[in-house]
Structure formats: structure tokens, C-alpha cells
């Protein structure tokens, strides 16, 4: 029964009872009509193509939770428990997910906050309505210090980064160029800018810096989501972009039946679910210019990126898409067209969302964009893009012609079909097998717990991640999920961050699961391919952490590209060190560093299987070989 006022009228002979529902507008009668991938489902809160095929495995489990195989290549193992991460849990609202803010989950960042050469993990936490009103203790974010032995210790309280607000996103950036990574944490409400004090602690300076986005009203707040650092004006200082999702009123939440939400936006496949985002009041995006004195100025309007329509922003990323040396700006908008702002080089941006092909999918339809990934998966020097998407729709792969003209090649690339039943969130390119070709991992998890009550839909609330192997010919192949391995581990996945947590040259993945412990996918792929990683340090007009820098690495006929990025994925921030798989090659022919500040520097690497530190103008200034240390022992 739909949640409208219906009343029983009479019980008549023959046990026939009719009830008249009084408040709904008439719909069309059912008739033969296709509801395929190219049609549109406009009568629900999330944009999708309408119900799609139900997929089950041989044991009739929904493909999103099943579909596992007994044997096959073991790529990842979930070592979260052994690593000590599972004592922490994400808590976001109640389990029923009556309100959209309870379902969005949180991000994760990989950063070396203490500059010991090992990545640490920052996991953002959500909150509850009781915690927001002081009735219960709020859940806290975690800062897991890397103990260098495969384990981690939560030092968030000591470090002063527990947040204790309704957290969503995180971006890493050394905004004051002091050589220590700072953290920007977005909240449902006022955001945090955690300045790194160089002693293992942080101080929230958001208010002083002018980037808190405090609404001034504790009840009516902005739902801030993705954040990304980037130096858009080339002054050598990181600026900050923050996406807005909805304007949220704690006193009048958008629940079904309220005036804040219409009935149609509270249904999925004809079933009552939480409302939105369609039909809800959106919120603006913000671009903050770094003044160089610890403060920022909101230049969103002047720069042309204020999101006048208040679309539902989620994943955001500063990245040079059109290869002109300046960071452009990407915004994944939920259930509305994406933004692609081209950096004009004069402090303003040109909205090329439609002309570029990034606004909509190949059918010209707006989709529920969540997370963003950028990577040169064809090794042609062009950054291609991925946007994750809702169930009953495919995750999008945009091929870049190098000038920022994007084409939806989702089906051609082999990504589209397998992703349709999944709700994709975090995503990232990673060369998991170090063969020199960037693969793709997508973190999944549904937003509606109700899907578990409809097993015939072929989808589940908790879902497994999808790993696509790059075949080197423009196509990807789904890597089978072997039972008991990380690819078979299900969770309500949200944020995902990518990086070499164990300094072994293999890219690992940390997933922040909604209302659960995190997943740590340790890369155990049994390849023996070579690799190198570069930690870049900028000077002059290049930000100290080198965000915005592009590195080209050549081995034989293969030329790979990597970029130093902050933010991206879903509300997350990944390892800023650039990583290159080399295959069987044990010699790098050339490395070209295009520093964000302009200079191009050629670097010769003396060996492989190492993490090199490269400083702008100085070349290699350090190297780390954890495997060498092990061998010496």
C-alpha cells in the first residue's frame, strides 16, 4: 500500500473490500511499453534508467552479493581485522535510512600525516540525530597511524581530529606549504580545516581560515560532500573546492509524507524508500582562493563555479583534463548533470559540461553520479574519466581525446554491463598487477536497505567491490571474485582510497563502509612485476605537495601518465605518491615531471622497485626500498 491516505470503505458480500486512495494523481494504465536502459525513470528520487535485468548467480544469490567463484586469481585479501581497523565502525543515522543524509556515508583519506614515509588512514564518521542533539555521544572519526608492521593504531583523539560532527568527505592538501599534509573534512553542517601541527596533532582552523561554511543556524545547514585541493590560479598555493549536496533542515527533514518531499521522490521500483535527492532543496558549491596568509576567500561567483542551480554535488576533483597545464574542475552531481569547468587561466572557469560530453551519459540522460576517477587507461597521455552511478544504470567511462572532448565508451570498454545492478560510490584507477596498464576498482553498496526485501530484483544492500582488469586494448575485463578474498567481501561501501599502504609497490584500497567496519583490501596479487613510486616535492609556483603535477614515465614503447591529485573518488583522497607498474621491465627509460608550477624536469631513476623522493629542481633526493630492508635482514 502506498503511503497516502487510504481508507477502507465497506466490507461487502463475497469478502470483497475496496479501499479508495484519495490523494494521488492518476498515472497511465499499464500497457506494453519498454523500460530499457535508454528510457528514463523520472518518477523516483534517484535518477536511473528504470528497472533493469535481475542477475543471480548459480546459487540464486543477487549478483551484487554473490557471483563468487571457488578458485581463481587472489588479488586482494581483506585484512582490516588483522590490521586493527575493525575496532572502529562507521555510524550514520539509523538502520532504516528514512532520510537521505543517513545513507550517504563517508570518505577515507590516505596520508602520511607524521612524515615517517608510511601512509596512515583517516576514516570520516557520520553521526546520528540523537548525537546531534546531545542525547548520545557522537561517533568519532579515526586516524589510524601506520605501525609499519601491517597494523594500525587509532590516534584520532590524541591528534585532535575526531571531528564529532556529521562527517562526510575529506581531502588532503598542504595548504600552507609547510611540508606537512593538512586535512579538510566536510560535514552536514560546519566543516573542519585541520592544520597539521608537525607533532602528531592537528588544530581546526576552519573558522579562522574562512572555509567552515557555517550556516549560522544550527537547524538549517549545508550538506557538504566532496572536497578537492588544487592550485587553480598558479600562485603555488592550494585552493579549495567544496561541493554542496542539499540544504538540510533538522527541524523539517524530508521524509515521506512531509511537505519537503513529494511522494514520487520517495519511491524506488514502486516501493517506499527515503526521499530524494530529486525534489529536495540543493546547496551551492564553493571555491575558496588561498590568500597565502592562512585564510581563504570564497571566489565561487567570480570564478563561475558557484553552482547557481544548486545541483546535488558529490565527488569533486581538480585535474587537468584538456592538457593545457592548468587544473580544471570536475563535479559529479547526483541525479542531475555533471559539471566540467575548464580553467581559463585568468582566475575564472568556462562551463564546458555539455560541449565536453561530461554533463550527461551517452544517451543524453542525467544520471546519479557519485564518485570520480581520472586516469590514462589507454597510455596515450590523455586522462580519461569514470563516474560511478546508481543501480539500474551503468557506471560511466568517458574517453578523452586529449583536448577535453569526452565520449561515453562505457559499453565499448566493458564497464557498463557488469555495473548495472550495483550502486557505485568510490572509484579509482590502479595498476593492481603492475603490468603498466591502469585497472579500475569500484566500491559498491546500495542506499536503500529495502532492496534486501525484494530478492527478485537481483540486488542487495551490502555489495562487493568490482575490479576490472585493463586488457591494454581499450577494454576491461571483470576480475572474478574468489570466495574468501577481498573481492568477495560485501559491505555497504561508500568512500574508497587507493595507495601503497605497505610500501611494497602494490596498490591497496581502503573502503569506508556505511554503518560497519572498514575494509582494507591488501593487494596480494601473485605477480612479480617491477614498479616505481615517486613522492614529489614542489617549490616556487608548484605547491609543496606537488598537487597538479603530471609525471610521464617511459619504458620501451610504453609511456604512462600519472597525476598528483587531491580528492576524487567518493568523498575521499588517495595516496599522492605516483605509482607506475613496469611489467617485466627492470629499467625505466625516462621520467618527465611536469611540475604544477610550469617547469618540466627530466629525472633518471637508478633502479626500480623503490619509492623515490623527487624535489623540484633537485632531482632525486631520497629513496625507500622496504623490500631491500627485508632482504638485508
Amino acid at each position: 500500500m502506498s503511503p497516502v491516505a487510504c481508507r477502507l470503505l465497506v466490507r461487502a458480500a463475497g469478502s470483497v473490500v475496496f479501499a479508495a486512495c484519495l490523494s494521488l494523481a492518476a498515472q497511465t494504465a499499464p500497457d506494453a511499453q519498454r523500460r530499457g536502459i535508454s528510457s528514463e525513470s523520472g518518477q523516483q528520487g534517484m535518477a536511473s534508467a528504470g528497472p533493469q535485468k535481475a542477475e543471480f548467480d548459480s546459487r540464486h544469490r543477487p549478483i551484487t552479493a554473490g557471483g563468487t567463484v571457488k578458485t581463481g586469481p587472489v588479488v586482494f585479501m581483506n585484512v582490516a581485522e588483522q590490521a586493527g581497523l575493525t575496532r572502529w565502525r562507521n555510524v550514520t543515522g539509523g538502520p532504516e535510512k528514512h532520510i537521505i543524509v543517513e545513507a550517504k556515508g563517508s570518505g577515507v583519506a590516505l596520508l602520511d600525516y607524521d612524515n615517517d614515509g608510511w601512509l596512515d588512514i583517516y576514516l570520516v564518521n557520520g553521526s546520528t540525530f540523537d548525537a546531534q542533539t546531545g542525547k548520545t555521544t557522537p561517533p568519532h572519526a579515526a586516524l589510524f597511524h601506520n605501525n609499519h608492521d601491517g597494523t594500525f593504531t587509532d590516534v584520532a583523539a590524541k591528534a585532535g581530529v575526531t571531528n564529532d560532527r556529521w562527517g562526510l568527505g575529506v581531502a588532503v592538501g598542504d595548504y600552507d606549504n609547510d611540508g606537512w599534509p593538512d586535512l579538510y573534512v566536510t560535514n552536514l553542517g560546519t566543516n573542519r580545516l585541520y592544520h597539521n601541527n608537525h607533532d602528531g596533532t592537528f588544530t581546526d582552523v576552519a573558522a579562522k581560515a574562512g572555509v567552515g561554511l557555517d550556516s549560522g543556524d544550527p537547524n538549517v545547514v549545508g550538506d557538504h560532500t566532496g572536497a578537492t585541493f588544487g592550485d587553480y590560479d598558479g600562485d603555488g598555493r592550494l585552493d579549495l573546492f567544496v561541493a554542496g549536496y542539499i540544504r538540510f533542515d533538522f527541524a523539517h527533514p524530508p521524509v515521506a509524507g512531509s511537505k519537503e518531499a513529494s511522494h514520487e521522490q520517495c519511491q524506488y521500483r514502486g516501493v517506499d524508500v527515503m526521499c530524494g535527492p530529486r525534489g529536495l532543496q540543493g546547496d551551492h558549491d564553493h571555491l575558496f582562493h588561498n590568500n597565502g596568509d592562512g585564510t581563504f576567500t570564497d571566489v565561487s561567483e567570480k570564478a563561475g563555479v558557484s553552482d547557481k542551480q544548486k545541483l546535488y554535488g558529490l565527488g569533486v576533483l581538480f585535474v587537468d583534463v584538456n592538457n593545457d597545464g592548468r587544473p580544471d574542475l570536475l563535479v559529479a552531481n547526483d541525479s542531475t548533470p555533471n559539471y566540467f569547468y575548464i580553467n581559463k587561466g585568468d582566475g575564472t572557469f568556462d562551463d564546458q559540461s555539455y560541449l565536453s560530453g561530461f554533463a550527461l551519459n551517452g544517451d543524453g540522460r542525467e544520471v546519479s553520479n557519485m564518485g570520480l576517477a581520472a586516469g590514462d587507461y589507454e597510455n596515450n597521455g590523455h586522462l580519461d574519466l569514470v563516474s560511478t552511478d546508481f543501480s539500474d544504470d551503468y557506471d560511466l567511462v568517458f574517453l578523452n581525446d586529449g583536448q577535453g572532448n569526452l565520449t561515453d565508451v562505457s559499453y565499448r570498454s566493458g564497464i557498463a554491463s557488469p555495473t548495472v545492478p550495483f550502486v557505485g560510490f568510490g572509484d579509482g584507477f590502479l595498476d593492481y598487477d603492475n603490468d603498466g596498464w591502469k585497472d579500475l576498482l569500484i566500491v559498491n553498496g546500495h542506499v536503500y536497505p529495502q532492496v534486501d526485501q525484494h530478492p527478485d530484483w537481483g540486488m542487495s544492500y551490502a555489495q562487493r567491490p568490482l575490479l576490472f582488469h585493463n586488457l591494454g586494448n581499450g577494454k576491461f575485463e571483470l576480475v572474478p571474485a574468489v570466495e574468501g578474498t577481498g573481492l568477495a567481501a560485501v559491505g555497504v561501501g561508500r568512500g574508497g582510497a587507493f595507495g601503497d599502504l605497505f610500501n611494497d609497490g602494490k596498490i591497496d584500497v581502503v573502503i569506508n563502509n556505511l554503518d560497519g567496519p572498514p575494509t582494507l583490501l591488501r593487494n596480494v596479487n601473485p605477480d612479480h612485476h617491477h614498479w616505481v613510486e615517486l613522492k614529489l616535492i614542489g617549490h616556487g609556483k608548484t605547491p609543496r605537495d606537488a598537487v597538479g603535477t603530471t609525471v610521464y614515465l617511459t619504458t620501451g614503447a610504453m609511456r604512462q601518465r600519472e597525476d598528483v591529485l587531491s580528492g576524487g573518488s567518493y568523498l575521499s583522497s588517495s595516496d599522492m605518491r605516483v605509482h607506475f607498474g613496469l611489467g617485466d621491465t627492470d629499467k625505466v627509460d625516462g621520467v618527465e615531471v611536469h611540475w604544477a608550477g610550469g617547469p618540466v624536469e627530466k629525472v633518471e631513476l637508478p633502479g626500480v622497485d623503490r619509492i623515490y623522493t623527487v624535489e623540484e629542481g633537485k632531482g632525486i633526493t631520497g629513496s625507500l626500498c622496504s623490500q631491500c630492508v627485508k632482504r638485508r635482514k
Binding site: 494523481a25 523520472g42 535481475a54
Partner: protein
């Protein structure tokens, strides 16, 4: 002695009224519903409330699609004959056809208090719930309709469609299979069975059913474009654009004002490297549905692929403008 009554200012006898009534029934039975409606109206006017002439007038008017007039006649009849379940059931049907499902349900409820409804009545009740977007209740009543009369093919069909709308594909397939047993040549049923099988990922079965639907559609001079459009869409999704082309050309021929048909044909042409053909079809789609931003977007990107940048920009700007006319609260 003959009893005289006044009819529209003219005095007629009871015998004449009986004749009018019989003539009305004869006209009704011969399919001349307009004439029947007139005759029943005269018979009723001659002897108000004395017979079921008003009920039959309402039925006759419904048969010619004059639902507001039928509504008025049947309302009058139910006032004069509040004991007539048939009157309420017929009025319920007419209200359904008028697009007044809540009113229809109320009237069916009144009828059900007097007599058990038929399977066909229950089918209409189910469809009332469909109009109210209440598919779970629609399923309840359509199931009951099939229990009352397992040979009601339309009830099985509607039940199948409702299950399909709820993504309950296995049950949809079962219901449609029952409908197909009763009428193996029902094009709508075959087409919907193909849709269901496609949703169950039974692509070979779906392909077979779609092909059967095309055979039936080809033999049906009254077919609409949907069988062709459905199968073509299936083929496009399976990277079989060349096979989709003739189907989409047929769909366009049947429904030259179908924007979706032209758009799909444009897409199929673009995928078979006929860029100029794609422009022609997408341009027609845009002309037919100029407010659809998706069509401008598709046309713009075909122009872009052809190197016609100015035209591409113009179309993409139109798409942006159409999407951009809404802010977030109007995203529906």
C-alpha cells in the same frame, strides 16, 4: 384502457414505450449504440424509473465512448434504482474510463455491498488502483479477478503488467503465460513476455519472443510501433544495431510523429557509421519533441563527431538550457 404518459411534451402510451425499449435493445444488439442510446433515452423519459432503460442507455453511450453522458445516465439510474448492483458496477466502469479512479472505487464499493462483483468488475477495480499508482493493491484485485474467472485473459494480462511494474518478473512471466494459453496470438501478451524474459536476463528466450511479436505485428494491420521499438531497443542494447535498423524504419513508417522512434533510428544509424542519416533522424526527433534535452544532446554529439562544431555547440547549448531551466527543487 391504455395508460398515457408524457414524453418530451408528447403523450405516448405504455405500449409505445415498450416498443421504444425493444427497439433500443435491438439496436444495441446489432451494434448501433448511438441509436440504442436515443431509443433508451426516449423510453426512460416516457416512464422514468420504471425500467432499466437508463442503465442500457448508459451502456450504449459507454460503447460509443461518450463517457460523460454515460456517467450522467448511470448516476441518474443509480439514484432511481439504488438496489441495482449492475448500475453501480457500470457506473464504476465508466468512471474508470473517465480517469476518475477514486470515484470509480467508491461506486464499485457501493455495488459490492449489493452483490458480488464479476471477474471483469474486479479487473477494472485493479486497474483503478493502477491509475492511483498503487500497484500492490492492484495486484490483489487482479489476482482475485483471475480466481473468479481463470479464463479472463485480460485480467491475466493486466496482472502480468502489474507484476512487471513491480519488478516481480517471475510472477509477471507466469501471469502472461496464462494469458498466452488463452490467446496465443495476443500481440500485447507476446511483447510483454519478451520484456519480462529480457528483465530475467533470459536473452535467448526474449529474442525468440520478440521475433514472434514481430511476426504477429507484421500480420496485424492495426499494430502500433511498440513491438518494433521494443525489439529494436533490445537489439541496440546488445550491440546489434544493423538488425535494429529495419525494425526502426518500420516503427517510423507506422508512427512518423514518434520522436522516440526517430531518435532510436538516429542512434542505430550513428552506430552503423551513417552520421548524416543519424543527423536526419535525430533532427526529426528534435522537431517532434523540441523540449527534450536528451535529443538535442544526442544530435549535438553526432554533429561533434562529424566535425560540425558550430551546430554541435548550438544543439548542446539547447540541451543545457533545457536541463538548466530547472533548479534542484524542480528536478523531477
Amino acid at each position: 384502457m391504455a395508460v398515457l404518459v408524457s414524453c418530451a411534451g408528447i403523450t405516448v402510451s405504455q405500449a409505445q414505450i415498450a416498443t421504444l425499449y425493444e427497439q433500443g435493445k435491438a439496436a444495441f444488439n446489432s451494434g448501433d449504440f448511438s441509436k440504442a442510446a436515443e431509443l433508451f433515452a426516449e423510453a426512460e423519459a416516457g416512464a422514468p424509473g420504471k425500467s432499466d432503460a437508463l442503465l442500457l442507455e448508459g451502456k450504449a453511450l459507454a460503447n460509443v465512448g461518450h463517457f460523460p453522458d454515460a456517467d450522467a445516465a448511470l448516476r441518474a439510474y443509480t439514484v432511481r434504482h439504488p438496489e441495482s448492483a449492475d448500475g453501480f458496477f457500470m457506473l464504476g466502469f465508466v468512471l474508470h474510463r473517465e480517469g476518475k479512479p477514486a470515484d470509480s472505487l467508491r461506486v464499485y464499493t457501493q455495488g459490492a455491498a449489493l452483490s458480488t462483483p464479476t471477474a471483469e468488475d474486479l479487473r477494472i477495480v485493479g486497474l483503478d488502483y493502477v491509475l492511483l499508482n498503487d500497484f500492490p493493491d492492484a495486484i490483489v484485485w487482479l489476482k482475485k479477478a483471475t480466481e473468479f474467472d481463470p479464463k479472463n485473459e485480460r485480467a491475466w494480462y493486466s496482472l502480468g503488467r502489474c507484476y512487471y511494474s513491480q519488478s516481480r518478473f517471475e510472477e509477471a512471466g507466469n501471469a502472461l503465460a496464462r494469458a498466452l494459453e488463452l490467446n496465443p496470438k495476443d500481440l500485447r501478451v507476446v511483447t510483454n513476455l519478451a520484456l519480462v524474459q529480457e528483465m530475467q536476463n533470459r536473452n535467448e528466450d526474449a529474442d525468440r519472443a520478440y521475433r514472434e511479436s514481430i511476426v504477429l505485428a507484421d500480420a496485424d494491420p492495426h499494430t502500433d510501433e511498440w513491438p518494433y521499438l521494443n525489439y529494436a531497443s533490445f537489439l541496440l542494447e546488445h550491440d546489434r544495431a544493423p538488425e535494429a535498423l529495419p525494425l526502426l524504419r518500420r516503427a517510423v513508417a507506422i508512427a512518423p510523429r514518434c520522436a522516440d522512434c526517430h531518435a532510436k533510428l538516429g542512434k542505430a544509424l550513428a552506430e552503423t557509421n551513417d552520421g548524416l542519416g543519424a543527423v536526419a533522424e535525430l533532427s526529426q526527433a528534435v522537431a517532434l519533441s523540441p523540449e527534450d534535452p536528451k535529443l538535442h544532446y544526442a544530435l549535438g554529439h553526432v554533429y561533434r563527431a562529424l566535425g560540425m562544431q558550430d551546430k554541435a555547440k548550438a544543439e548542446l547549448a539547447l540541451s543545457a538550457k533545457l536541463y538548466g531551466t530547472r533548479d534542484s527543487v524542480n528536478t523531477q
